[in-house]
């Protein structure tokens, strides 16, 4: 998910642990979130271990005192920070008892300082109603980071009580900083229908799209699909704003996969947005797809774009380095993506077409056969010949030789028809003349079933291009008229 967002969230958490404003840690903005999480763990361990012996002594001494007195002394003299450190060193039942004697506002102070990993049993032992009261206090202080750290340690029943207290905006803000992202799906499933709808409404109203994208990226398939469909149904103006945010904050790697999951009507509406057709946005889509391997996400959308926008995407893709183009081709073998890839390749400049053609021809068998099968199924041989015309004879032969003999019944008539339509006879006959003997025999049979006019045209072109001899028995069938 958006790396920048996760990093910023980690800086906030680290600042809190160190008692430092996150603005003073701005130099950490280029560090990966995962590395900052490791650093935060190191710091938390160090702070805990530094005074561990003294903390253990305090925990042991507190056992000598009646609960009410221990709680009062803890609150008054030790304060929230030290109580938080000591909490995990107490017997669980004693810690829960002491917590029960402390007011919610002080427990909220403790929660701010507490490392929940070290006191998970204590957190789990505190009654749901008391946790709810502490949550209310934390929400009043806008302590979303603290809430986010604790949710993963609470029982479902307790989470449900906490969720009832969350306003729609608060819900998103907590979700954004949720430490244990695995808990997010469970949290969303505990939401009422109204709250689930409200997440998306709130994202639009308060411009919390980065937070929402973060949330969506961590949900299980069912919850995610539901929220994505709600997003797809938003007004065009709201979706334009989502596009603007994704563009400004570099969030296409998060948004593109979600758009692909929209139903076809919503996807069509999304692609029809004026904001999506801006040149800068189209270029950013290509760049993000190249960087993050998101061609399977982008290609279906490209197919829906109007011609001018598609040409821009193709031009942008043409400028990609060869290894990145290679990645498109290797990703494109998903059967439903080939037609879109071929359409895109046709719009590329000559160099781009040549590179894509070569990559297909030199690709593994599954790539070649996948291309041919879907090009044939999608009746896109005119487009395919437009790419093939840039390939040298050797590459054309390589491509042709890997067509299955049985596939020639469907492929060959389409290739001939495409050559008639486009005039790309050189590419078409280059493919035919590269076939091996068993393939040629099959082609001869197919050629015999073509209309006489087509056979005559094929013969004329084969002679004109000087490849008649290479067609072997196919030539004999053509000559027979």
């Amino acid at each position: 998910m958006p790396a920048g967002l996760r990093t910023r969230s980690e800086i906030v958490k680290l600042g809190r642990l160190l008692g430092t404003a996150s603005a003073e840690l701005v130099f950490l903005e280029d560090v990966e979130a995962e590395e900052l999480a490791l650093l935060r763990e190191q710091v938390a361990n160090r702070l805990f271990e530094a005074d561990r012996d003294a903390l253990l002594r305090v925990a042991a001494a507190s056992r000598l005192l009646p609960g009410a007195l221990a709680a009062a002394i803890g609150q008054r003299y030790f304060g929230a920070l030290l109580c938080a450190r000591i909490a995990g060193l107490l017997d669980v039942s004693r810690a829960v008892e002491l917590a029960g004697r402390l007011p919610a506002d002080f427990l909220a102070d403790v929660a701010v300082e507490l490392d929940p990993r070290r006191a998970s049993a204590v957190i789990a032992g505190i009654p749901a109603t008391q946790i709810r009261d502490v949550a209310i206090e934390l929400l009043a202080r806008k302590e979303y980071v603290v809430m986010g750290r604790f949710i993963g340690y609470l029982a479902d029943e307790t989470i449900a009580q906490v969720l009832e207290q969350l306003g729609d905006e608060e819900l998103l803000r907590v979700a954004f900083v949720l430490e244990d992202k695995r808990a997010l799906d469970g949290v969303v499933r505990l939401l009422s229908d109204r709250q689930r709808h409200a997440i998306i409404r709130t994202a639009a109203e308060f411009d919390l799209w980065p937070e929402t994208l973060e949330l969506l990226s961590h949900l299980g398939p069912a919850s995610r699909r539901e929220l994505i469909q709600l997003t797809g149904a938003l007004d065009a103006a709201v979706l334009d704003r989502l596009v603007a945010v994704a563009q400004d904050q570099g969030l296409w790697d998060a948004l593109l996969p979600l758009v692909r999951e929209m139903d076809s009507d919503a996807r069509r509406r999304f692609v029809a947005l004026p904001s999506v057709r801006r040149v800068a946005v189209l270029d950013a889509l290509v760049a993000a797809s190249a960087e993050h391997g998101l061609w399977p996400e982008l290609l279906p959308l490209v197919a829906l774009l109007p011609a001018a926008a598609r040409r821009r995407v193709a031009a942008s893709a043409s400028r990609l380095e060869r290894p990145l183009l290679e990645r498109i081709v290797c990703n494109g073998w998903e059967p439903d993506l080939w037609p879109a890839l071929v359409d895109l390749a046709v719009e590329m400049d000559e160099d781009g077409q040549r590179v894509v053609g070569e990559l297909i021809a030199r690709g593994p068998d599954r790539v070649v056969r996948g291309t041919i099968a879907s090009v044939t199924a999608g009746q896109r041989w005119p487009e395919m010949l437009a790419i093939a015309r840039y390939l040298p004879a050797r590459e054309l032969g390589r491509l042709a030789q890997r067509v299955r003999v049985s596939d020639l019944d469907a492929v060959a008539p389409q290739v001939v028809a495409a050559a008639v339509q486009t005039g790309e006879w050189e590419a078409a006959l280059g493919l035919f003349s590269g076939l091996k003997a068993p393939q040629r025999r099959r082609l001869a049979r197919v050629a015999g079933e073509l209309d006489a006019d087509l056979r005559a045209l094929l013969l004329e072109q084969a002679r004109a291009l000087g490849v008649f001899e290479q067609l072997g028995e196919v030539g004999a069938v053509l000559e027979a008229g």
């Binding site: 590395e35 650093l39 305090v58 003299y77 450190r85």
Partner: protein
């Protein structure tokens, strides 16, 4: 080419960078090497991070000591001796 400009013994990149005072201080504060991405920061940033951790540790230790002393004054006389012994 870049390598043509590298003189013998010259550091070639962050991976081979000798530990500066900032990195040494941070390692000391953490008790172990910081994550790779953090080590790649410039030395001044590392020193700043080390200072922040040092400050947090110092504040925590001072708070603990003060709290122990103040708390003892408010513990009933009957228990104070036992608690004091446990805190030593």
């Amino acid at each position: 080419m870049y390598h043509n400009h590298v003189q013998r013994g010259e550091v070639r990149g962050p991976a081979r960078r000798a530990a500066g005072p900032g990195l040494r201080a941070l390692r000391g504060q953490l008790g172990s090497a910081p994550p790779k991405g953090v080590r790649a920061l410039d030395d001044e940033a590392l020193a700043q991070l080390a200072d922040a951790i040092h400050g947090a540790r110092r504040r925590q230790a001072a708070a603990l000591e003060t709290a122990g002393k103040e708390a003892l004054d408010h513990i009933p006389a009957l228990l104070r001796g036992a608690v004091r012994r446990m805190l030593r």
